[in-house]
Symmetry: C2
Subunit: 334 residues, 2 copies
DNA sequence: TCAATTCATGTAATCTGTTTCAAAAAATCG
DNA sequence: CGATTTTTTGAAACAGATTACATGAATTGA
């Protein structure tokens, strides 16, 4: 391979100064004579010197690296490809790079709290940003107890001990509910697994809106067995075989919404005329699907920025409050 | 913050052995008495010891970390959200985690070869996997000259000095062309910027198929100014205003294809009846869009595995050959 | 001009592992 | 059983930076 790279000691020798001076010159320390600094910088540049970040991190204790945990491989073939999570990832990536933090992307192969803790005590990363909460609330709480710095995208409930950033799920649900009420829809289908905190909150918001309207309605629930496109499609096909078609649907994601629309389509049902549907996330594809999706929008860049900001606060031992980002209903053709 | 974590020296003391013995016991070195190893392991486990990876990397020279470069923030709002690139990312992530390599996800803020080189000489990462070649062929070649280990997803041409893994772009183009010939289509539109090597190859394949059919055809080109959904939509709307509608379209991505179909739709044109369209990538959404997209499929898991395999070969100074993955036409409703 | 500050630089210690090499312990053998 | 070989262990060096502290140089003030 390539030969030994130049070290700080080499630069020091070549510039006729000592190691600490080089360190200070490069690190922007104020007490360095301008002439010396220039000399050092020019030698460093000339020889393409780059500080060894491992040595630096070893000495400095912190890593400036944050692990982002993303579950994109639950099943090999039917893996999640909900673009929303990637929009979120893009937001986080941008926010981290602004703060000059490195992003270590990990699949959640690690299922127990200890293996996460190890990455922190092994000085691999300073902590974790979890994109998606899944059914890990308990494990996350355990991480907090073990002093592992972390924040998660999601929602919180009484038991939640960690900081979350998320959609205003209750409001999102409420907005969908309002729309259904306005159009006098009464046979309502909620699509999503309410074991997930976020989805539970949405369902509560939805019910709140429906109940204040003071009229009779049925609210049923459909939960695809995993998060794949086909799972949702199939589940909907089954449901249409056995029950009367719903006249209003609130889906937990635009991706799920698309799958469900396909099933409704094939069953001869048309949006607006036969049913209303509200999706969630307003992913880039939502406005280009046909029909164009009515959905709940959140700003993923803001989300990323907030997640990172809160994480940094956690690192500095200020216990930041969980927060939600602005959440609005975008009405299109469903 | 949390107090000083336990070090290897601590474990050594607690187990009544020396540091090197602990190192060997944990590292699975053969020459350690089973009883000693057990003692060390139990002490380590009991105190939740984790080796400091920075110290380890400092001594060992390699980082076991690979940077994956992904361009997902070219424009703040209109950023690329082509799910294909994320499917690819998922594939790479899985392949890396199998080999116990860490994945550092970086945006390509670094535009010149030197800043990439710095990450390698600074021992941040062992090298790079670029997901997408863009118009960076020249810069990539420069990286090779600077001994920066790297591979890229893409295609290669005469000047390409680095290893690529990619779709069989020529074949992909050829398959699309064949389909057009079979249906006697003559007014063909190629959507994509042929400054990108991959797209140039596809266009060549397309032309090959068309020319062997020995009949007259027109082949025009449309290139959205950036990769956003709207750019493609708008470009297509413009084109339909000024020129006769094409009867066959070959789009460089399914995402672009969707945008274009929207434009065609609004212009009253229907797939199959009025035009054929072949997309590229077979993203998860392709088969659920309406109309269901005819497209070119590649296995992104295989792609990820190959990229990682080749990268490792590059690291070990075997110059691996570039290769293409199986590429097939999936005929659906366009 | 000399003492008192302030600024710039260097020496040595430190961070936490791995590796080399030599010594000690254990196992093998005639 | 003593000599030889093999296994197991430890002391010290090393990886490449940063930091505390000390010293020498430059500047200020009287």
């Amino acid at each position: 391979m390539s030969k030994k790279p130049i070290t700080m000691a080499d630069v020091a020798r070549l510039a006729n100064v000592s190691k600490p001076t080089v360190s200070r010159a490069l690190g922007g320390h104020p007490n360095v004579k301008p002439k010396t600094r220039e000399k050092v910088l020019s030698v460093a540049r000339e020889h393409g010197y780059a500080v060894n970040r491992n040595a630096k991190k070893l000495r400095e204790k912190y890593t400036n690296t944050i692990a982002v945990i993303l579950d994109f491989s639950s099943h090999r073939r039917h893996r999640i490809t909900d673009p929303f999570i990637f929009e979120l990832l893009a937001g986080v990536s941008e926010a981290l790079s602004i703060r000059k933090q490195d992003l270590l992307l990990s699949p959640p192969t690690l299922s127990d709290a200890n293996s996460y803790k190890e990455l922190v005590s092994g000085r691999v990363v300073d902590g974790f940003i979890f994109l998606g909460q899944g059914a890990n609330d308990a494990m996350f709480n355990e991480l907090v107890k073990k002093d592992v710095p972390m924040v998660a995208w999601g929602g919180n409930t009484e038991g939640t001990k960690y900081c979350t950033v998320g959609s205003d799920n209750f409001l999102g649900g409420f907005l969908a509910g309002e729309r259904f009420v306005q159009h006098n829809k009464k046979n309502i289908l909620f699509v999503g697994n309410t074991e997930h905190i976020e989805l539970r909150l949405r369902r509560e918001g939805l019910e709140k809106a429906l109940s204040t309207a003071d009229y009779d309605y049925t609210l049923s629930e459909l939960q695809g067995e995993d998060f794949s496109f086909n799972a949702h499609y199939e589940a909907m096909v089954q449901l249409l075989k056995s029950s009367p078609a719903p006249d209003a649907i609130f889906a937990y994601s635009d991706t799920a919404a698309m799958a469900i629309i396909n099933a409704l389509n094939e069953h001869g049902l048309e949006p607006i005329r036969d049913y209303l549907l509200v999706g969630y996330n307003d992913i880039a594809q939502a406005s280009h699907f046909s029909p164009r999706l009515t959905t709940i929008r959140q700003d993923t860049f803001l989300a990323g920025a907030l997640l990172v900001e809160k994480f940094m606060a956690v690192l500095n031992d200020n216990s930041p409050m969980s927060s939600t980002i602005p959440t609005e209903l975008i009405v299109r053709n469903t």
